[in-house]
Symmetry: D2
Subunit: 333 residues, 4 copies
């Protein structure tokens, strides 16, 4: 991982010596909210800036669910696998459905809810009360517009909110095959977050909703979760930078270009894709010896436990990845 | 459901006017502990009497798990399906593996734990820290001695406790094909509970462990969970009755005999078993019209949501079921 | 402690062999609800039967509070002292005010809420969102009608519910100086519970509200807390007995008579009251040697830790206490 | 609030473009740990870097307490007042004792624990299982060496850990009357944290213990609480800067000098101290009209709700406060 995009960093330095009120009540945070709402095409709506993604997911889900409610998610979902049980630690069950290339299917969500409602013993069963998806998914894949609209329809039918984890949203928006723009994500979700940490900020995620009434007393809940940044303006300054002069889009497009170059290189050299991702995460299945040798020159992760002979791995590109970085890696394959 | 076995009820009435100290510090509770430990073949050990099964599971699991720990269970497990999220409400994730006729398989448990340990990102993953099974299972099936010993071995290998939910234990012990006696269950588990509610008591479950150090300050944790019965001796009196003169065994054997008669009747009439259960729960797949007509004369439940044409149902026998009850039902098929 | 009032026990025995559906969906529970609503003077309203008081408090408070909400209670309140942290274990802070003979004062509640609302940092402070009192209090005392109406007024002013813990309600209603009848308690509270365990039942508390919308999905929350009795009708049968032919009142009056006889005896013998209680709990300050000698012939508890020379103690009367019991004790003073 | 000390900011910028592994496994974090342990005079020990103080308190306390355990704290403690119920949201009760100028007294802690242990009903009572203090306290005051050693002795006697919240530690160490150095705080506590956010960093707190066995699997618990910073090295880089060339001490000394100048100015002008604080927080009681006029030219907070005529206020100095700032303010009094 690298730090923040130079433009973000520049603004943090420029504003460092200013005095502002704390805990997100400053003018930079206010400005960031305004820029984000405008980018989403909202006249009204609410934006909350939090420090990290696990936090954002935990606090939003805790807010949207009542006691004894669960959240429907893919079995591969970040909240189900890589958040150390944060959702459960707040008392909520993650209700998993099988993933299809990292994605949920509308008809399976619908079937699950129907079965709950038709079960005579439903009082003894956790109520499915919201849907969690990520865009892009954990596997780098993207919902088509049709797929997302179908899920939206199921949520509307049953009156439950749809929450989109946008930790890597910049890359979903910039992907060549991506069918959704920021306004679409904003409109099709009830609540979503715009990832900053993985998209050019030092840290920070912007939770956005077109329905502020869904997040009552949210600032206090954020505090309860220990997720209120004392010098809250740091989040405001960064999101101002990201949403000025199209920086967020630029960061997305650059990383996508680098990721496509990387994929092409691996494929050309005969390596197998673990999954065909159109975004900045690229997954390949590599022989274990190859993994060991590449580890010396490049930064990537095993995707799950090491298997006997070959293991899936994940490469991630970002604003700092250069063509040279890619070409050096490819030439070493 | 009926009330308590007449012998249990008789003892409750006989002791009703006595004065004893509250909260389980009375002589009846002490005597029940002694009888149970003796029946388990323990010289030392600990017994705690609780009011119900969901409580027992919640409190035991909460005690055995550390923060950020999860419990491995079959996807069909009671704690995963029918306890309204009680385990998660205490902050713990239920880590599900596919069931095989309601049972976990030792090698799959082993694989799951290995994968966790071999994952570089394990710090971000819920630690599998105990195994939950039930005997009999939710589907009425029984682990063979081999199967249970294999799971025991996996638990020993990884140093995690094995907990057995014995809500219907009397019927597992009494089943014709059952390979395990009470002492085996006691010895092969770290903690288990002897079901009273479903086995002849008004209510009550006896949590038993051969390793009292696994349940430190357990009385206080029971109180925290609102599971301390003020007139605790009611539990003591009932378990004394159940563990005197072999009453618990008698209750088990009678219900099994009735269940086998029931199964034979359905099979003879050409109905399909949903699963072949050797215990007091019997599952059949019935046409929906048949379900509707039988509902008028017998007590049974849909097993899951009603399906389009036919639906699985569950019949349960107990100490009060008579041959006549069964024969009347069968003749109405 | 003794068991249930003989009339309650008789009904449990009479109904023992009946078959009914489980989990409180039976006709006895329905009848108990009807009897209780009628006794409260409600045309509509809701009644839920739970097994014990700590449970009832935990589940009701968990339901009435949102995330980050706290409950205002006296520092002597049962939920603050003797429930092992059950309220906090569900994530809620008990916000204590000083007790005055076990009671809260309306003006202090009002001041606390005002201070919260006027604090610029209120987002970082737990919101006081309900008031908990008990009638009688932990110290056996009773709110006057004026006192209770004043608290009601504060709750109305700030739009927060008033919850009354009636673990020993029968004795509050029967006290000679008691100014409130059941209908008053029902009308002046938003939610309250009618104690069964300490008032003639084997166990059981009836949570009652004139505003059912305050307890949405309550049956499921009860299950989540492990507080759903499988053979739920046991609660129904007992409350039917208590609310038939004025049994609940009779039990209250008898215990009060015995308590007054006890107090008179102690006072006559020159012992100091720890507090002047008009209900079935009587508190005296006794020299430690006297405590030791009385322990051999009577059942009572130290009230708090043993002090150096003399220690407060608590005697409790109930349906089973006889004049002879009292007279024997007094003559031994 | 201002940003980070320029030296801290400089290092963040210098290291911004480096690639390192995430989640605190980088070399800067390792170096920061080494510097901190050295400054504490430890040969072994453990250091964990977290983002904020509410987080640090919540995660440490959650780790140190077992189920049904509470933490003893002053009624004015940050965890009791200004963390929105974060401790309770993790299931733990804050057990308050009256503060004496913001401080706990050893003999009162001792009395509380003794009473718990001597209470026959202790199983129903939350166990006092750790002590929380802050240095400086919420009111800016400091424990003397004697006072802290006495508390240490009580903790040792009862075998419970002492945790020190050092959100403003730099100012406690730099105070003229301060009797404790960093090594003393490190030695007298079991766990403590070195505040970064309020002492020159953008954000960040360093949890330190001389007894690493007290914080098992702590990294995973931090993740569970959503408190793991993805780009963890940001914390490492900042603490490296703070613990190089005595920067942390310099920051403390400067703010103390400014705070003393401020206090002198107010006193000279005849204003009343709310409390006589030797550290960087200064509390005065001001007439409400004065508060309103000063609000236009200076940054400070009401301390609690606005009172009728005059209200306590708090001024805070830091690395960026200048003599001019102070003098301008004083001249406007």
């Amino acid at each position: 991982m690298v730090g923040a995009h130079p433009e973000v960093m520049r603004r943090l330095v420029e504003t460092n010596n200013l005095h502002t009120v704390g805990y997100g009540c400053d003018e930079f945070t206010a400005k960031a909210r305004e820029l984000i709402l405008h980018a989403c095409g909202f006249e009204k709506g609410a934006v909350y800036l939090l420090e990290g993604g696990t936090q954002a997911n935990a606090v939003v889900i805790d807010r949207l669910l009542d006691h004894n409610d669960g959240v429907i998610a893919a079995d591969t979902a970040h909240i189900n696998v890589h958040e150390a049980g944060a959702i459960e630690s707040n008392g909520h069950k993650v209700l998993t459905l099988p993933n299809h290339d990292g994605k949920l299917r509308a008809e399976e969500i619908c079937g699950y809810i129907k079965d709950y409602r038709n079960d005579d013993t439903y009082i003894h069963i956790v109520r499915p009360a919201m849907v969690y998806i990520s865009y892009p998914t954990e596997l780098g894949t993207l919902y088509t517009r049709d797929e997302l609209e179908s899920i939206r329809k199921v949520c509307d039918e049953y009156g439950i909110p749809l929450y989109i984890d946008g930790a890597r949203l910049a890359y979903g928006l910039a992907a060549e095959c991506g069918e959704l723009q920021l306004k679409d994500v904003a409109e099709l979700s009830d609540v979503f977050y715009i990832g900053g940490t993985k998209c050019g900020a030092l840290f920070g995620e912007a939770v956005v909703t077109r329905r502020p009434e869904l997040l009552p007393r949210f600032a206090s809940l954020i505090k309860l979760h220990g997720a209120t940044l004392a010098k809250g303006r740091l989040l405001g300054v960064q999101f101002c930078a990201l949403f000025t002069d199209g920086l967020y889009e630029k960061i997305g497009k650059h990383a996508i270009a680098m990721a496509m170059r990387l994929k092409a290189g691996f494929v050309e050299k005969g390596y197998r894709l673990y999954i065909d991702s159109p975004t900045n995460q690229q997954f390949f299945v590599l022989p274990n010896e190859k993994i060991d040798s590449l580890k010396k020159i490049a930064s990537f992760e095993l995707w799950g436990p090491r298997r006997e002979k070959e293991t899936p791995v994940r490469f991630v590109t970002d604003w700092a990845t250069t063509e040279e970085d890619i070409d050096t890696l490819i030439s070493a394959l």
